[in-house]
Every structure is written in C-alpha cells, then in structure tokens.
C-alpha cells in the first residue's frame, strides 16, 4: 500500500539546535515529494517540494530536504531552529508524473522548540 512513514511523532529541541525529521515513502514508481508545515492556528503551508533535478531541495525559512531514491527517503533538515519553528510538519507525496493528484501524507511530526 502507498504510505508515508514519519519516524518521529514528537520532537523537542532547544533553540539553535539542528533538526532532522525523517520521512520514508512506500511506492515503487515516480514520485513528487513535499513537506508541509502547520503553525499553531494556521493553515497547512508548503515548505518545499521535489519534482526532479537536484535531489537537495531548499525551501522557505532555511529548511532543506534531500531525496534519496535508493532509500525512498525525503528527510527534512534545518541547521539551527528557532522558537518560531514550533509547528507540525507533514511529509507527503503524489505518485506519477502529473502535477495534480491526491497527496499521501505521513502522520505528522510535532516540533516544539524551547526558547
């Protein structure tokens, strides 16, 4: 079955610590990969996406993610987190080569950054 596994459900970090959130997807074909973020009280926002080309993708607010096809992974990283990064993070993919289609989400990772 097509699915996304986010390994950490709840992460607590101090400000300036480095962040890496794991994401593995289950699908054998071509995928388009996404990380979304939901800040408290706000809507889901696109953080970054991978469609093709350079497997290291840079997004907003200093986040980046690396697509490793052999590992079916798309881990999210940030070198130094801030209190304002406190949010829930969702990894997702769309299968196929099209730009539309349903997103398949992971369970989400809640990040709490302590000031």
């Amino acid at each position: 079955a097509q699915s996304v596994s986010q390994h950490n459900h709840h992460v607590i970090l101090s400000e300036a610590a480095s962040l890496e959130l794991g994401c593995n997807y289950s699908y054998g074909g071509t995928v388009n990969l996404f990380w979304y973020v939901q800040y408290p009280g706000q809507h889901l926002q696109l953080l970054l996406k991978y469609f093709s080309g350079d497997p290291l993708v840079k997004g907003i607010k200093g986040f980046e993610a690396e697509f490793i096809k052999s590992k079916f992974s798309f881990n999210l990283r940030k070198p130094s987190v801030q209190w304002s990064d406190t949010a829930e993070y969702f990894c997702a993919f769309i299968h196929g080569s099209g730009n539309t289609g349903k997103l398949i989400f992971g369970q989400g990772t809640t990040l709490q950054v302590k000031p």
Binding site: L46, N99, G101, L103
Partner: protein, 113 residues
C-alpha cells in the same frame, strides 16, 4: 489574493444530525480536493474535483458523505447522518493544473457527540 477559505471553522453536532461544510477555492483553480484528519492519524484524501466533475472519489468513506461542486466554483461536503467516527478536521485544498502541490484552507474541525 484570497486563499482557500472554509466554513465553518468549528462545528459540533449530535450523532444522527446533518452537517454541511463549505470550501471556497482560490479563484481560477480548477482542482479542488477534500482531505480529512482523524485525531492522531494522518491526513487522508477524500476526493478530487476538476472543475465540477469528480476526478477521484476513492477516499470517500461511505455513502453518508456527499460532495458537490456546482458550477465549478465552491464545494460543499455534506455528512448525513453524522456518526461519532466522522469527527476530525476536514481540509480543503485547491491548485492550478500546472502548480505542484496545493494550497490548503484552515480546515473545519467537526465534532460529533
């Protein structure tokens, strides 16, 4: 530019009642999606409209759920009759054909008691 808006933001209804959720996509977006997140679980796809046509409704849980998008603009999702397990956050998203990913609304939190 206005984003995706959803009404209401919260709804508490009794089991057996009917609730209608509304989604207004970004103007000009042909693709409209409904998703649902049950507490503690992943966000799951419900269905996908392209303009007024249902492109994919494989995620609809059962026939108590009815989605419409008359005229290809806003969409409604009706749950009738509601059951306890229908509680969760219902998200709507929209996108252009050439735009990767989608823009999400803030969601409607539905509580069935």
């Amino acid at each position: 530019e206005a984003g995706v808006t959803q009404f209401p933001s919260h709804s508490v209804i009794e089991k057996g009642q009917t609730v209608t959720l509304r989604c207004d996509p970004i103007s000009g977006h042909d693709n409209l999606y409904w998703y649902r997140r049950v507490m503690g679980k992943e966000i799951k796809f419900l269905l996908h409209f392209v303009k007024e046509s249902k492109q994919d409704e494989s995620g609809m849980p059962n026939n108590r759920f009815l989605a419409e998008r008359t005229g290809g603009t806003y969409s409604t999702l009706k749950v009738q009759p509601a059951e306890l397990e229908d509680s969760g956050v219902y998200f709507c998203a929209s996108s252009q054909e050439w735009e990767p990913g989608a823009f999400f609304g803030q969601g409607t939190r539905l509580t069935v008691v």
